[in-house]
Symmetry: C2
Subunit: 232 residues, 2 copies
DNA sequence: TAAAAAAAGTGCGATTTCGCAATAATTTTA
DNA sequence: TAAAATTATTGCGAAATCGCACTTTTTTTA
């Protein structure tokens, strides 16, 4: 158990809401979890499905997105290892309002709803932590709404790049974003057309704010990127 | 106590998360709450403030909004009696990310953070209900992000009107929206300029979808309004 | 490894929405 | 109740962004 990625990322990891559980509870969760592997592009769940478990991302990257007007996709969130997927619908006792797709080879582990609630009902502190996490995400969602609606294209794209850095951090060179999204995904994250994402990335490269090599994005001038994001 | 609005709206009301509390707990909350009256336009809290209590709206209407690029306002949520204000920041243990202003004469009651947490820590079911409420609002926020970014002006305005109906319902005539917002607030709710809100409202009136009389908005064709909202 | 498919990049006219000024109507204040 | 302030309305020109077609490059598949 102690070498298992689920244990390490979800139960032991200091940032996980489960890190303060008793060893007994951790063992219970460990004994009840099940894992799945998804290839790039595979669907983990779709809008409208009923959640039956808490899905934990243990390895890889997953996009959570909604389909809007004319099927146009808006990425709501990107998950990283140690994070949960689809927990909102589970705790709201609703069907999924968004879909989840692996954007690279990923491993997810599931904790059955009943097992989870059993532990939550006997542990207020876990509930409060999950509540805190949910409330924090609600704040980010509201902030995001304002950014996506009010900032201009350059500001939105800059913000998305900063968001990618925050979520997936840099490679060892300390400047290459450790995420290799398609131009389309970058566009769907930033509320713009693919053409405009491409165009604006090129402009940033021309301004020496970033450099591009296929899907590899290197940040050359972080403070300028921040300024572009702030000015909208 | 049993005739008090705080008791009726917040503790007794079946829709409130506190409705299932024991009588003892209800009494404790009742004995610890304090009330305030705000005139139209008065600030209840501002972005950056530290939350110290759970604020409950007992009477009136309150807008929760964020200031974006160039001070431009985006209304994030509208509260109605029986609802909470600023609970997100409280449970996220953050400062407020939005401001709250009474849009009509309002009465709000506060439950001190410590009193509230004391009850929550001894009552998992309350925590789970608050979690459910927060997760539900997160879903609405994500849905709203997509609407506000992808729908065109007509769709956004139609959605806002439907949202006002859902939140504040109709007057006794079953067609006048029981909310009298300024054109500016309607615009800030719908992510558009005041001019465009006015223009588009006029267009709707010309199409006999609504009728206008100052701030009074009467819905003449609800299904058409729904269609406009859905088509974007 | 050649063909097919998918993704990336570019150009430009069409639309949407904004910005702002000017005016009118309504509400508040002295 | 008259003056001042706020809110509502209207009209364009300007700017931002989209839509879409077309080309090039990269990746996948047979």
């Amino acid at each position: 158990m102690y070498n298992d990625k689920f244990y390490l990322e979800i139960l032991k990891n200091k940032n996980s809401v489960f890190s303060d559980l008793s060893d007994t509870d951790k063992e219970t969760l460990f004994n009840h979890h099940s894992c799945n592997r998804y290839k790039k592009g595979e669907i983990i769940f779709k809008e409208g499905n009923r959640p039956t478990a808490l899905i934990c991302l243990v390895e890889g990257k997953v996009k959570i997105f909604k389909e809007g007007v004319g099927g146009r996709e808006q990425i709501v969130r990107l998950a990283r290892p140690g994070g949960f997927i689809g927990y909102r619908a589970l705790f709201a006792k609703e069907n999924y309002l968004a879909s989840a797709i692996a954007i690279e080879e990923s491993i997810v582990c599931s904790i059955d709803k009943e097992d989870l609630y059993h532990i939550m009902e006997n542990n207020v502190q876990i509930c409060l932590k999950i509540l805190q996490m949910t409330a924090t995400e609600l704040g980010m969602s509201n902030t995001r709404t304002v950014s996506l609606t009010q900032k201009h294209i350059r500001g939105r794209l800059a913000e998305s790049l900063l968001f990618l850095i925050e979520t997936y951090s840099f490679e060892d060179d300390n400047s290459t974003i450790k995420a290799y999204l398609s131009r389309e995904d970058i566009a769907n994250l930033s509320n713009m057309t693919t053409s405009n994402a491409i165009r604006t990335l090129s402009t940033f490269a021309g301004e020496k704010v970033i450099s591009l090599d296929g899907r590899r994005i290197k940040i050359l001038n972080l403070s300028k990127l921040r300024k572009i994001s702030e000015l909208g």
